[in-house]
């Protein structure tokens, strides 16, 4: 039997979450005597997946699928799962995969768990640990159905190489016109910028930055670290930064390796959204800011003095260590 993963890609390249998903699937496959099949959509070179333990690739090439269309993509995942007889279907936690997963789950009459962290707690009964209550707690969810759909939380398992030789096979699911009730008209995307969803490091600014004109410092720090930029809720509410950068309970969740918060006091709703990040650094002039209680490293100081120095020092560090 095989475990099916949907290996997400953008602009002809696999997303990092696809490799994490492959690594995760491989581990489950090894312990349960299964193989890993990856579904790819409009990817010509799929060889990279072999590095992470994928045994077989189902390659879909279809112009109709050039734009992400949830219903059509869900149809492709469903047909791939049926072709492979997969009982476990794994997706990542990108905006697109979270859009797809419930549709796949209904189509396959499968129980679904999102925000999954770590390997299944038990295979029989099937139990997984997931984030709940906006990262303030975990819950162990048991899935009773024969077919199961999981969305793996970003950065919750890690990427592990596991060299193999994936056999690629063309796969042509039947995609009906009825799948295109929602049509993409236009996409606005910052080009060349690291997105919060894809970043290993996120640099985030709060009201302590005093105004949008000072965001150059946040952007410079992010640039040195190859990081995405983000902001607190008040900053997006006042309109200093776009809503797509707002992280926290009602904004985007952040689960990154390193989260640097500058001038963010650390309201409980903000912390809830970023708490899955592995290492948290806070820079704030107020030593009593609640963020210091949840951070790993803290600098009590004026952002306008600390950031320029930190940027210079990091540049020197990067120059030495690259």
């Amino acid at each position: 039997m095989s475990i099916l993963i949907y290996a997400e890609s953008a602009e002809g390249k696999f997303k990092k979450v696809a490799f994490e998903l492959a690594s995760y699937a491989k581990k489950i496959a090894e312990t349960s005597g299964q193989t890993v099949t990856a579904l790819t959509i409009n990817m010509s070179d799929v060889s990279e997946l072999s590095k992470y333990g994928v045994d077989k690739v189902l390659k879909v090439t279809n112009d109709k699928l050039a734009n992400f269309t949830a219903k059509a993509y869900a149809d492709a995942v469903k047909q791939a799962a049926e072709k492979e007889g997969a009982k476990l279907i794994l997706l990542s936690s990108t905006t697109d995969s979270l859009y797809l997963a419930p549709l796949v789950s209904v189509a396959l009459n499968a129980g679904f768990a999102s925000n999954v962290v770590g390997l299944p707690v038990s295979m029989s009964p099937f139990q997984v640990k997931r984030n709940a209550f906006s990262n303030k707690a975990f819950n162990i969810t048991e899935i009773a159905t024969d077919v199961k759909v999981l969305c793996l939380g970003k950065n919750s398992y890690g990427i592990f190489e596991n060299a193999g030789a994936a056999a690629a096979e063309d796969f042509a699911p039947s995609i009906s016109d009825a799948d295109f009730g929602v049509k993409v008209q236009s996409v606005e995307k910052g080009s060349g910028k690291v997105t919060i969803a894809d970043a290993d490091v996120v640099v985030s600014g709060g009201r302590g930055m005093k105004g949008p004109e000072n965001w150059g410092l946040i952007e410079d720090l992010a640039a040195v670290l190859g990081a995405a930029t983000a902001c607190s809720k008040p900053v997006s509410d006042i309109g200093w930064r776009p809503h797509s950068e707002h992280v926290g309970q009602t904004g985007k969740p952040v689960a990154t390796n390193l989260y640097i918060a500058v001038g963010i006091s650390g309201a409980i709703q903000h912390i809830a959204g970023i708490n899955s990040s592995k290492v948290k650094v806070v820079i704030n002039s107020d030593a009593d800011a609640p963020f210091f209680k949840v951070a790993d490293y803290g600098v009590v100081g004026d952002a306008f003095e600390v950031l320029p120095k930190l940027i210079e020092k990091l540049k020197a560090f990067k120059a030495q260590n690259s």
Partner: protein, 248 residues
């Protein structure tokens, strides 16, 4: 236009989260409940349609009698009527099946449900409703315009946004952006008084299985204290991030 807004009854965002009964249940002791924030953005957008284009707005919740104050609050904000499906919302699929039934019976043109609830964060109910009914579906929706039966919607994508065209009947997974924080309404006295006399219909659930079950809860391990670094010694911060945390 007939609009249905699905409302989750969730702990206030500042609530302390605790568990009881051998960590198998959420401890409701001392917890204030609110309209799920993602649902409230959708509710306010629905009220705008009602005021600007003419629409009838129904709010619905799947839950016990204790969730009625949350529905009354939605009525006080401006919804025309409310429905409570009298059942314990055991899992996303169960709730989606109940809501799909309400939608089929009521013939709603537009259904707005929050992209995810802030308690279980399942993020599945809007998509499952769309899957069950085969309706058009836009998730993570941050802007919505309806003319006749044509719809233009904007959805948030990783690193940007995407504009899509679709048509009613439509299911929307809503969030901030449908309206902004400043647009949210606090019920006034008149709204609260009127809400008391608006219809709140209680329906019995249709039979549906739950596919999943939350068997146990855990709280994250307590954190060790923050390491403070002097602003005059940022080399030490870089050193710790490189050698200790190994993240740069």
């Amino acid at each position: 236009m007939k609009i249905l807004v699905c409302i989750s009854h969730v702990p206030d965002t500042t609530s302390k989260i605790n568990f009881t009964n051998g960590d198998s249940e959420f401890d409701t002791n001392g917890v204030q409940y609110v309209i799920n924030p993602n649902d409230e953005f959708g509710l306010t957008r629905a009220i705008w349609f009602q005021e600007q284009q003419g629409a009838n707005v129904t709010v619905v919740n799947v839950g016990g009698p204790d969730t009625e104050p949350t529905l009354r609050r939605a009525l006080a904000i401006g919804a025309n009527e409310a429905i409570r499906v009298n059942a314990n919302p055991t899992d996303g699929m169960f709730v989606a099946k109940q809501l799909a039934e309400v939608i089929k019976t009521g013939g709603y043109d537009l259904v707005i449900a929050g992209r995810e609830s802030l308690d279980y964060n399942g993020g599945m109910v809007p998509g499952m409703i769309a899957g069950i009914l085969g309706s058009n579906f836009v998730n993570s929706c941050i802007d919505l315009k309806v003319e006749g039966t044509s719809v233009t919607a904007v959805r948030e994508i990783d690193g940007g946004k995407e504009t899509v065209s679709t048509s009613l009947p439509l299911i929307v997974g809503g969030q901030k952006g449908l309206v902004e924080e400043k647009d949210l309404r606090i019920p006034n006295m008149r709204g609260i008084m009127t809400a008391r006399t608006k219809a709140l219909q209680v329906l019995e659930p249709v039979s549906a299985d739950s596919n999943t079950k939350a068997v146990k809860f855990e709280k994250p391990a307590p954190k060790s204290a923050v390491k403070l670094i002097s602003p005059d010694n940022l080399d030490e911060l870089i050193n710790l991030l490189h050698n200790e945390a190994k993240v740069i």
